[in-house]
Amino acid sequence: MQTIFIVAILGLGFLITFQIAKASEYVAVLRGEEKARKQTNKVNAFMLLAFLIIGLIGVYYCNEQLKGKILGEPASDHGVLIDRMLYITIALTGVVFLITQFCLFWFSFKYQESDTRKAYYYPHNNKLELIWTVIPAIALTVLVGFGLFYWFKITGNAPKNAMIVEVTGKQFGWEFRYPGGDGVLGKKYFKNVSPEKNNPAGQIWEDQYNYDDVFVEQEMHLVVNKPVKLVINAKDVIHDVGLAHFRMKMDAVPGTPTTMWFTPKYTTKQMIEKTGKPEFVYELSCDQMCGKGHYSMRGVVVVETQEEFDVWLAGKKPQYLVANPDKDPASPKKDSASVISNLPAGAIPTAMKTKN
C-alpha cells in the first residue's frame, strides 16, 4: 500500500513538472522567445555562481563533519610516510582545485551573454600555453619525487631483525603461520593441504624447518616497535591483506607469494587509550573482491609487547606436533628423548615442487 502511494506521488510529481516545463515553452512564445531566453540565461548564470559559493561552503562543512571519522594517527612507521604524502598532495591539489573551480564558475557568471559585450577573438597564445604546461609539470615532478622517495623506503627490503609471519587468505578467513624459534618458515605444497589430517597450510613434514612452525587462524599477533615482514599467500582466489590503521595493503595471489613489511608503533592497548574507544581493535580486511563473503572476511591483529607476545606464542603447539601426535614429546605414549633424533633429516623429494 505504502509503495503504491509513493509511486503515485512520484508519478504525480513527474506529471506536474512536465506540465510546468511544457507551459514554459508556450509562455516563452507569448512573451517573445528571445526575451525569455535571456531571462533564463541570467538565472542560470546566477545559479552557477551560487553553486560555486554554496559548493565551497559545502566542501568545508563536509570536511568538518567527516574529518573526525577517518582513521586518525597512523599506527605504523610506513603509515606516517603515507599520510605525509597524502597531506602534501591534498595541499597542492587543493590549491589547484580552488583556483580552477573558481575560474570556471566565475568566468561563467562574469561572461554571461549580454547585449553590450562582444566575445573576444582569442584563438591562442603560445606563451600562456607554455606557462600552464610547465607549471603543472613542475608540480607533478615534486609529487613524483616525494612519492617515489617514500615508495622505495616502504617497498625496500625488510630489516634483518624483522619477524616473519605468513598470512594466507582463503574464502572467507585468514590463516597465519609463525616460523617458531628457528625464524624460518618450513616449505609447503598446496597438494598437501588437508584440514582432516591437521595440515591446513599444506606443510611438508619432511622439512625440518616445519617442526616448530605455529599455525593460527583469524588472529595475528605482532610485537610493538619490531619490524614485521608478512609473506602473503592465497589458497583459492585473489584476496588482499588490508591493514587500514597501519596504512598497509598487499594482494594475496594464489601461486605467487607477495611480501610487505612495516613496524607497528602502538600496541592495541595504547590505541584504545589514544582513540578513547574501549572497543578499538586493529582489523585485517580483505580488500580484493573474493566472492560472496568478501565483505565479512575479517581478521584481528593484536599488537603487544615482546613479553606478551612470547607468552602467547609459547602457549601454541607447533602444527607438526598437532598433525603428528606420535612425535609429541608431551604425549604420554611416547618416549620424549627419542623424538627429535628419529625425525627424517629434512629430506624432500626433489621432484616435488615447493613453495615457501
Partner: protein
C-alpha cells in the same frame, strides 16, 4: 583534390538513385546502413542499458544505505536473490558487476562513441556516409547481439557474472568459488567477445572515414575537435580491445578446457585443483592494457564534444586548438603506458611500479592543458547557457575534481592506503562515470535538433542539469572520506566491523540522493522520447549559430546528408567573434581583408 571531387559526384549520383525508390521500414529503421540511423540505434540502445544499469545501482545503494531494513517488494521481484526482502550477497555482487560492465562498456563506450562517432563523423567532415556502411550496420548488430547475450545472462539460475567488472581470475575462472562464475561468466565472456567485434568494426570504419572521406578543403587541422577526439578514441579502441579479447579467450580456456594460464596452487572449497604454473597476475596485465585506455575511450569523445559546445556557446574560438589536439594525442599515447597503476599492490616489482607512477602522473600535464584551455575559452566570451552548455561546464568541473583525486591514486605511496577503497569508487565515478555522462548529455542536448528535427524541452533540461550536478557531488564527494577511513570497495554490510562502521547516516544520505538523481534521469528519458515526437520543431538550419558542416544540411538530413553537392570547406571550425562577426561558417571562403589568426 580532384579525387575528392570525383568521389563527390559519384556519391551524388548514388544518392539520386536512392531517393527515387522508397526504402522499406526494415531497411530504413532496422537494418539501416545510414550512419545517422545507426547512431540513433546506438543511442537508444545505450539509453535502455543506462536505465538498467542505473536501476542496479539504486538497488545496491538500498542495501548500502539500509542494511538492516527489509524490502518485501524486492522478494516479490527477485525471489531467492532477495530472500526475506534482503539483498543477498550473491545478488549484491551480481548487481555491482553488471552495473560496472553495463555502464562502462554498453553505455559509455557503445552508447557514447557509438552514437556520436556514427552521427557526427560524416556530417562534420562532409561525407555522404561512413567508408563502409555495411560494416557499420554490422557493428550495431554485433553490439545488439552482445546486449542480448548479456541480458540473457541475468536470467541464468546460478546468476550473472559476479566477480566485479574486472573479472579477475581465479574468482571468475572457478565455478566452485562463486556461483556467478558458472554459466553466467561464460555468457559474460561471449557477450564481451561480440562487443569487441562490434567496437573493432566501428573503430576501423571511423578511422578510415576520417582519413579518406573528408570533403574538399577539410584538411586535418581544420577538423572540429569532436572529430579529432573521436578519431583518437577509435585508435585507442582498435589497438586495445583485441588484447582484452585474447585475455578473455585464455580465461575461457581455463574455465572450460583445463588449461592453466591464470591458475596455480589452488585449493578451493576443500578441493585441490591440478593446475600449476599459471599466473593470476597475467590476466590483470591483459585486462588493464585495455582497461586503462578504456577510461580514455570513454572520456575523449566527451572532451571533444565539450570543446565544441563550449566554443559555440561562448561565441568564441576554442582556445589553443593545436594545444588541444596535441594534448589529445599525448593522452592517447600515454593511455597505453600506464595500465599497471591499477596493480601497485599486486606484488609488482617496486621499480616497475615507480615507472608507472611517473608515466601516470605525466598524464596530468595534457589534462591540465585541456582544463586551462577550456577556462580560457570561457574567458571574455558571451556565454549562452543552453542545457548543453551547462552540462559542458559541469563536465569541466567534474573533470577537475575527479582528475585531481587521480593524482592521489596514481602516486603509488598513497595508493597503498587508498587502493580498492571507496576513495577509488568516488574518484572514477566522478572523472569517468559522471563526467562522461555530462559530456554525453551535452552532446544529446546540442545535437538533438539535428538528429530529430525537434528540440528537447529546455526547462526539463535545466532541471535535469541542476539536480544531476548537485546530486553527483553530494553522492561522490563525501564518499572520498569513506575511502580515507579505509573502507574497502564492494562491502555490502559494514556492521560487522569496528573500524568501518562510522558512516551509517552518510550512507543513507547517499542512497536517498542517488534515488532522486536516478528519478531525474528517468525524467530526461521521458523528455527524450516525448520530444522525438512532440518537441518544438526546429525552424532554422543553424539554431546554435555554429560553424561546422552538419548545420549546412537540411533540418532533417536525407540519406546521403546533402541533397546537392557536398559543400567545400575554406577555414577551421572556430571562427567565432572574428573581425566583428558573430560566426563565420566553415563553408565561407576567406575574405580578402580578413585578419589572420
Amino acid at each position: 583534390m580532384n579525387v575528392h571531387a570525383g568521389m563527390d559526384t559519384a556519391h551524388a549520383a548514388h544518392q539520386d538513385d536512392h531517393s527515387h525508390h522508397q526504402q522499406s521500414f526494415v531497411s530504413k529503421y532496422i537494418f539501416s546502413m545510414d550512419h545517422k540511423t545507426i547512431g540513433k540505434q546506438f543511442l537508444i540502445t545505450g539509453i535502455i542499458w543506462a536505465i538498467i544499469g542505473g536501476l542496479f545501482s539504486v538497488l545496491f545503494r538500498l542495501q548500502l544505505g539500509y542494511p538492516e531494513q527489509t524490502f518485501p517488494i524486492l522478494e516479490t521481484f527477485f525471489g531467492k536473490w532477495a530472500k526475506g526482502g534482503q539483498i543477498q550477497p550473491e545478488f549484491y555482487y551480481a548487481l555491482i558487476t553488471m552495473h560496472g560492465t553495463v555502464l562502462v562498456f554498453f553505455v559509455l563506450t557503445a552508447g557514447l562513441s557509438g552514437t556520436f562517432a556514427n552521427f557526427l563523423i560524416p556530417l562534420q567532415i562532409g561525407a555522404r556516409d561512413m567508408a563502409s556502411p555495411f560494416l557499420n550496420m554490422l557493428s550495431y548488430w554485433f553490439f545488439f547481439m552482445a546486449s542480448v547475450v548479456m541480458i540473457s545472462s541475468l536470467f541464468v539460475s546460478t546468476g550473472p557474472a559476479s566477480g566485479g567488472w574486472t573479472v579477475y581470475p581465479p574468482l571468475s575462472a572457478l565455478g566452485q568459488a562463486s556461483s556467478g562464475s558458472k554459466m553466467g561468466m561464460d555468457l559474460w565472456i561471449v557477450s564481451m567477445a561480440l562487443f569487441v567485434v562490434s567496437s573493432l568494426l566501428g573503430g576501423l570504419n571511423y578511422i578510415s572515414t576520417i582519413l579518406n572521406l573528408r570533403t574538399k578543403g577539410m584538411s586535418m587541422t581544420r577538423l572540429p575537435l569532436t572529430i579529432w577526439a573521436l578519431f583518437f578514441t577509435a585508435v585507442l579502441g582498435v589497438l586495445s580491445f583485441p588484447v582484452l579479447l585474447s585475455g578473455l579467450i585464455l580465461l575461457l580456456f581455463d574455465r572450460n578446457l583445463g588449461t592453466s594460464f591464470y591458475l596455480s596452487d589452488i585449493v578451493v572449497n576443500g578441493e585441490i585443483l591440478p593446475n600449476e604454473g599459471g599466473s593470476a597476475i597475467l590476466f590483470q596485465h591483459l585486462f588493464w592494457f585495455l582497461g586503462h585506455p578504456e577510461v580514455y575511450i570513454i572520456l575523449l569523445p566527451a572532451m571533444g564534444m565539450v570543446s565544441e559546445i563550449l566554443s559555440v556557446n561562448s561565441r568564441k574560438p576554442i582556445f589553443g586548438y593545436m594545444a588541444m589536439l596535441g594534448s589529445l594525442f599525448a593522452i592517447t599515447i600515454l593511455a597505453f603506458l600506464v595500465w599497471a597503476h591499477h596493480m601497485f599492490v599486486t606484488g609488482l616489482n617496486p621499480f616497475l611500479g615507480s615507472i608507472f607512477v611517473l608515466l601516470t602522473l605525466l598524464i596530468a600535464v595534457p589534462s591540465a592543458i585541456k582544463v586551462f584551455n577550456w577556462l580560457t575559452t570561457l574567458w571574455r566570451g558571451n556565454i549562452r547557457f543552453t542545457p548543453a552548455t551547462l552540462f559542458a561546464i559541469g563536465f569541466v568541473s567534474l573533470f577537475i575534481s575527479g582528475g585531481l583525486t587521480g593524482i592521489f591514486l596514481g602516486n603509488s605511496t598513497i595508493d597503498i592506503h587508498l587502493h580498492d577503497t571507496m576513495f577509488v569508487v568516488a574518484h572514477f565515478h566522478i572523472v569517468m562515470g559522471v563526467a562522461s555522462f555530462f559530456g554525453m548529455f551535452a552532446g544529446v542536448y546540442h545535437w538533438f535538433p539535428k538528429m530529430f528535427g525537434r528540440y528537447l524541452n529546455s526547462t526539463l533540461g535545466y532541471i535535469h542539469f541542476w539536480v544531476t550536478m548537485i546530486g553527483s557531488y553530494l553522492i561522490f564527494w563525501p564518499m572520498h572520506y569513506q575511502g580515507l577511513a579505509g573502507i574497502p570497495r564492494r562491502y555490502l554490510d559494514k556492521r560487522g566491523w569496528v573500524s568501518f562502521n562510522g558512516f551509517p547516516e552518510l550512507d543513507k544520505m547517499i542512497t536517498i540522493v542517488s534515488i532522486i538523481v536516478f528519478a531525474v534521469q528517468l525524467m530526461f528519458v521521458f523528455n527524450f522520447i516525448y520530444s522525438i515526437f512532440k518537441g518544438r520543431k526546429v525552424t532554422t538550419l543553424n539554431p546554435w549559430g555554429a560553424n561546422t558542416l552538419e548545420w549546412t544540411t537540411p533540418i532533417r538530413p536525407v540519406h546521403g546528408n546533402w541533397p546537392g553537392e557536398i559543400p567545400e570547406v575554406h577555414r577551421w571550425a572556430y571562427d567565432y567573434a572574428k573581425d566583428g562577426r558573430e560566426f563565420i561558417p566553415q563553408t565561407e571562403p576567406i575574405g580578402e581583408n580578413e585578419s589572420k589568426h
